[in-house]
């Protein structure tokens, strides 16, 4: 009851705001609007965790900080917004109080039902969600999604890790066996095995995105098993990277650059480059171009990148990694090219068959490639 009353009040406010906007700007539409020289593009960013977590949220914050430097952009953000009705309130206030023209709610769980609920009430505001859940025809027209193929960077990092490992055994501390994580584990493994076919990757699932004690324990256990390069896919790689450094083994990073935390052992890492995405969006909006509903890309599009190699990385390994990177950059790389077996011996991709990066089939991955020690079963 109270919910519906709240909604009507909101709709009244929305009507008033729309009327006001009409009065000043005439027939406003989010596509095709040409901004005057003095108008600023106002962009609002919403993060689920702290801005400076050395992880997912920091990667987005760095993107925001980069667009905020442009003098024709006004960017604002709010951190630690839970995936509840809270984010709806934040979106409303960014639209109404800050005058945001485009919102970037960056967490996966913001989409359904929160963005889907708020977006239809503000048809002239853009809601761009990170995570790729948008479907044409099903979702509101002023909604879009963007995401990057960070597994391409993981493939390159896997080559560096495999090349630098003396034992031929790599470790992967992962949160949960969901497709996105499994794709990273598999790409890392395939990268390492592309240069040393006997390499194994031991994966440990911690069960949740932020489990500092368990992440540290997992890292220690992996080192005890003679594993000498460790990477991870958890919310904040800080604990894994610092523990690996303390135990004197190599590590590769994730989300953003953690080389400051492990100057000796941080070989390289798979990083997001959201600055590129946000700059492009800002530019499109300023020029009045139509904003595409789906933005995807990997190394070639500049949405993800590979951390600068540590000086300990040998020339030969650099060369092998750069060769793969160049292949990704030219668009000629297909990681999932048959024959590929999973780690139970089943052939998942037959010889002669290949799945390119954009193949939707890859987004439902539930298997671990040959060479991975681990199981997707909980």
């Amino acid at each position: 009851m109270s919910e519906s009353r709240k909604l009507t009040r909101r709709q009244v406010l929305k009507g008033a705001a729309a009327a006001g906007a009409l009065g000043i700007l005439g027939n406003l539409e989010w596509i095709g609007q040409v901004w005057g020289a003095s108008d600023k593009v106002k962009m609002g960013f919403i993060f689920v965790g702290p801005r400076d977590d050395y992880g997912y949220n920091q990667a987005h914050f760095e993107g925001k900080a980069a667009v905020a430097k442009l003098d024709w952009v006004k960017a604002f953000d709010e951190e630690k917004v839970p995936e509840t009705i809270e984010v709806q309130k934040t979106m409303e206030s960014m639209v109404k109080l800050d005058g945001a023209q485009v919102l970037f709610p960056t967490s996966f769980g913001y989409f359904d039902p929160h963005i889907l609920k708020v977006a239809p009430q503000h048809p002239n505001i853009l809601f761009l969600h990170c995570g790729g859940l948008y479907q044409d025809g099903k979702h509101p027209k002023n909604v879009g999604s963007y995401f990057g193929y960070i597994d391409e960077s993981q493939y390159v990092a896997g080559i560096v890790a495999g090349g630098m490992s003396k034992s031929g055994k790599l470790g992967f501390v992962a949160a949960k066996p969901i497709p996105q994580v499994l794709r990273n584990v598999n790409n890392y493994t395939l990268g390492a095995r592309s240069i040393k076919p006997n390499t194994t990757v031991n994966v440990i699932f911690t069960g949740d995105w932020s489990m500092p004690v368990r992440e540290a324990e997992a890292t220690n256990s992996l080192v005890d098993q003679g594993i000498d390069v460790i990477t991870c896919h958890v919310d904040s790689p800080k604990v894994v990277v610092t523990t690996a450094e303390k135990r004197g083994v190599y590590c590769t990073g994730y989300h953003c650059n953690q080389s400051k935390l492990a100057p000796k052992g941080y070989l390289t890492g798979a990083e997001w480059n959201w600055a590129k995405v946000y700059m492009n969006y800002a530019d499109m909006i300023r020029k009045g171009q139509a904003v595409p509903h789906l933005v995807r890309g990997g190394l070639k599009e500049g949405i993800v990148k590979v951390s600068d190699y540590n000086r300990v990385v040998t020339e030969a390994v650099r060369k092998q990694a750069d060769t793969a990177k160049d292949k990704f950059m030219s668009g000629g790389m297909v990681v999932y090219k048959g024959p590929i077996k999973d780690n139970t011996g089943r052939i998942v991709i037959a010889a002669g068959k290949e799945h390119v990066q954009t193949d939707i089939w890859l987004e439902s991955m539930d298997w671990l490639v040959e060479g991975v020690i681990g199981s997707t079963k909980s």
Binding site: Y54, R214, E215, E217, S221, D224, Q225
Partner: protein, 305 residues
């Protein structure tokens, strides 16, 4: 070098010390508090506040040990606040405890925001594995001085509760407040002091998390160690020395899940990760009996009254 199956044993041994130490401090603190007849459920908040304070002070002063001290003092203040609130008529200590838990964590998150990214100086470790040539064992036996302090505290606290006038007073207040009043003992003051000291220990437990292992301040740092400690104290039958054994057992059990995955036992990791909790339930079921009350329970505790 590869440890194979020995790795599990080494991980459990190392984990017992690494993960067990914060359990030890919090459970010793709770043990003392409960001996005086109060339950402080707010220790989870105290632990988180201690972790944040320790990290922040270590970062600003450059001295991790000063951080540990300040973490203890912060915990002491939260403990004193809890017991002061509870000293009013008809105030329920469990309800206050839950409020203090939320207050402590909330305050720590609020004040701790600027400390998520910077790296503070870490507490040094002591090498006890120098005699061994096995690198894995050496790493497992790299311990922190706080663990040794914790052992000494467990022994000292046990002795003091049983053999000193101060210990007798705490126990009388916890066993029967009316008798204590008849003896002319200041019941509220003794409880406030005991809870404040308990908070001090819990705060130190928190600083161990942020300054030694896993060595990081973040909002997901505690995985309920403060709450588990309350169950631990019951498990330890309110005996400080037993708190030590039980904490080690918990630490070892928590290390089992990740280490089994590292040797290739890849299925069922949710179950293995839940072992400490399953263990708690099992012990509770095995040791409970309708024919007698728990051994060693202070009779003034609200749960037994």
């Amino acid at each position: 070098m590869e440890a194979g199956w020995w790795g599990v044993l080494i991980a459990v041994l190392g984990g017992a010390i690494r993960i067990g130490t914060p359990f030890l401090f919090v459970s010793l603190g709770e043990c003392l508090t409960e001996k005086s007849g109060r339950i402080n459920l707010g220790l989870e908040g105290t632990l988180v506040m201690g972790a944040m304070t320790g990290y922040a002070v270590s970062l600003h002063s450059g001295s991790p040990w000063l951080g540990v001290l300040c973490a203890g003092l912060a915990g002491m203040m939260l403990g004193a606040l809890h017991s002061w609130l509870c000293s009013f008529q008809r105030v329920n200590d469990i309800a206050v405890g839950i409020a203090m838990m939320l207050f402590g964590t909330g305050l720590a998150f609020f004040l701790g925001k600027p400390y998520i990214q910077p790296s503070a100086p870490q507490l040094p470790s002591i090498d006890l594995g120098g005699w061994s040539d096995i690198p894995q064992l050496k790493a497992a036996l790299q311990i922190n001085a706080l663990f040794l302090v914790g052992i000494a505290m467990a022994i000292a606290l046990g002795w003091m509760l049983n053999n000193t006038a101060w210990g007798l007073k705490v126990r009388v207040v916890g066993e029967n407040a009316d008798a204590a009043r008849a003896l002319g003992l200041p019941v509220d003051r003794i409880r406030i002091l005991s809870t404040a000291q308990g908070g001090f220990l819990a705060g130190i437990g928190g600083s161990y998390l942020s300054l030694y292992y896993p060595f990081n301040w973040s909002e997901g740092l505690s995985s309920g160690q403060g709450l588990m400690a309350v169950a631990l104290v019951i498990f330890a039958r309110w005996q400080p020395l037993w708190c030590l054994w039980v904490s080690l057992l918990w630490g070892g059990a928590a290390a089992l899940g990740p280490s089994l995955q590292s040797v290739g036992i890849t299925g069922g990791y949710y179950i293995f990760n839940a072992i400490p909790y399953i263990m708690t339930l099992a012990v509770m079921i095995i040791t409970c009996s309708p024919r007698r009350t728990l051994v060693g329970v202070p009779h003034e505790l609200t749960v037994t009254r």
